[in-house]
Amino acid sequence: VHLGVTPAILRARYNLTAADVGSGQNNSQAVAQFLEQYYHPADLAEFMAMFGRTFPHRSEVDRVVGTQGGGKAGLEASLDIEYIMSTGANVSTWVFTNPGRHESQEPFLQWMVLLSNMSDLPWVHTISYGDDEDSLSTAYMMRLNTEFMKAGVRGISLLFASGDSGAGCRHQGKDKNTFRPSFPASSPYVTTVGGTTFKNPFKVTYEVTHYISGGGFSNVFKMPDYQASAVEGYLKSVTATLPPQSYFNTSGRAYPDMAALSDNYWVVSNRVPIPWVSGTSASTPVVGGMLSLINGQRLSKGLPALGFLNPRLYKLKGQGLFDVTEGCHQGCLDEQVQGKGFCAAPSWDPVTGWGTPNYPALLAALLS
């Protein structure tokens, strides 16, 4: 029995032993924060003192790129840094802090520009921010997609949270709704992470869909080749539970790609342990930390970093992952879909992707 998700619970569920930590060599990971969302070193130290006793870990960030401000810590920043350093334990960790200090700066764009200007970067970056696709211009999204390609071709893995609104909902007039995809989650050149919850919230059980887990189909980016077969398989196998086709674009980039627990986390923020924190903001650094461990193993064997993971992930067809097959995420609250978006199913689905990491099996699959 447990009272919420802590590093020990995550490590138990995903089969990380105390020996599964970074060796500290030539490997690093990062989280990006925007708009004066700061982590506090004291929160991280307290979190690790409370929850990090069962595995070797670091309690300090190695590098802050940007301005680390004072004032209150942000919950988002606290969560991201505490959990990427819990699964990616003992891995050198950076924080990119992009406060957008100039009144006309766009912090997300500043971060993207920064990546184009730094030759040495961590191999894994996790980002927990996103916007509705329909709130952004196509030109902007296409260009940022190119920036993600630039990072991927350098061997950098970019992980984005899939969002916390399930399939989302956009009202397009009287009695006409459609699902509402999120960007950058919908970019074909990032790895998007959805969310799950324990079947029994007080035990380490198998995982089911977390109803908030963002997922669906892009209206901007076409479906990349690497996922066509998986998505086609899903659409053919679940015809009975699919929402009406007017709600989504079956030829668009489908997401998420994988998932992890996203519910009932403990976070220390402003020196206060806070229970029941949830969101794909939690699952994304958790997956990022594990990919960092795998990168560490690969680098120690003289192999290159994983880089853009999706082509390889989809070729694994779920190998190394726990398939999540129960539950649906939320969608439009109308008569046609009655609040329901897509439902999880065996193999890939647009709620939890291929599933959640079984670390030793995923490591074995990605070490070859």
């Binding site: 708009l35 969302q37 942000g74 919950l75 988002e76 969560l79 009144e103 006309s104 766009e106 912090p107 997300f108 764009l109 520009v113 184009s116 200007n117 730094m118 030759s119 927990s128 921010y129 996103g130 916007d131 329909d134 709130s135 952004l136 211009s137 030109a139 902007y140 260009r143 190119t146 390609m149 630039k150 071709v153 350098r154 949270a161 969002g163 916390d164 919850t197 324990f198 029994n200 919230p201 059980t205 089911v208 109803y211 519910d263 009932n264 806070i274 229970p275 029941w276 924190v277 949830s278 969101g279 903001s281 939690a282 290159p304 970093a305 880089g307 853009f308 082509p311 390889r312 070729k315």
Partner: protein, 172 residues
């Protein structure tokens, strides 16, 4: 002139409160995304280095190699710089891939440079930002050399993907 981002939502989220027009002499910082080259080759290279079935798998590029691939053409760089200089905009810095230019100028100059733009100040939680309340356009001479201009419309969401509940949730 023409619009680079004709479909950009220019309305700020409701939690930002409008304060008023900015003084014409106040500085704004804009990011110009210059058109890159060889994007098809970039995409193909990414496919090859990311596909475990490819002989190129894992052969990642350095930042310098990426820069060589995507760097905007001489013409693009020249046209954009000339356009900026013609408006007295000289306080600019570029990046190693040379595909972004970040420039500082007064709001008055920015509104002439980008016809249609109207800079206003907005506040939320004691934080102040400057954004344009109307879509911007660019002169036809530079239209084909730019992807978009940053610093006019977009604000990051507030803790979009994290929430604290009042009780634990049950499994499905």
């Amino acid at each position: 002139s023409g619009y680079l981002e004709y479909d950009q939502d220019v309305l700020l989220p409701k939690d930002w409160t409008h304060v008023g027009r900015v003084d014409p002499s106040e500085e704004v910082e804009l990011t110009f995304a210059l058109k890159q080259q060889n994007l098809e080759l970039l995409e193909e290279t990414l496919r090859l280095v990311s596909d475990p079935g490819s002989a190129q798998y894992g052969k990642h590029l350095s930042l310098q190699e990426v820069a060589s691939l995507v760097r905007p053409s001489e013409l693009t760089q020249k046209v954009v710089r000339r356009w900026l200089q013609a408006h007295g905009v000289s306080n600019c810095r570029t990046v190693r891939t040379q595909d972004f230019l970040q420039c500082t100028m007064t709001a008055e100059v920015a509104e002439v440079l980008l016809p249609g733009s109207r800079f206003h100040r907005y506040v939320r939680d004691r934080r102040s930002i400057v954004r344009s309340s109307a879509p911007y356009s660019v002169h036809e001479e530079v239209h084909q050399h730019l992807d978009f201009v940053g610093g006019l419309h977009r604000v990051p969401p507030r803790e979009k993907d994290v929430r604290v509940k009042h009780r634990p949730s049950k499994g499905e």
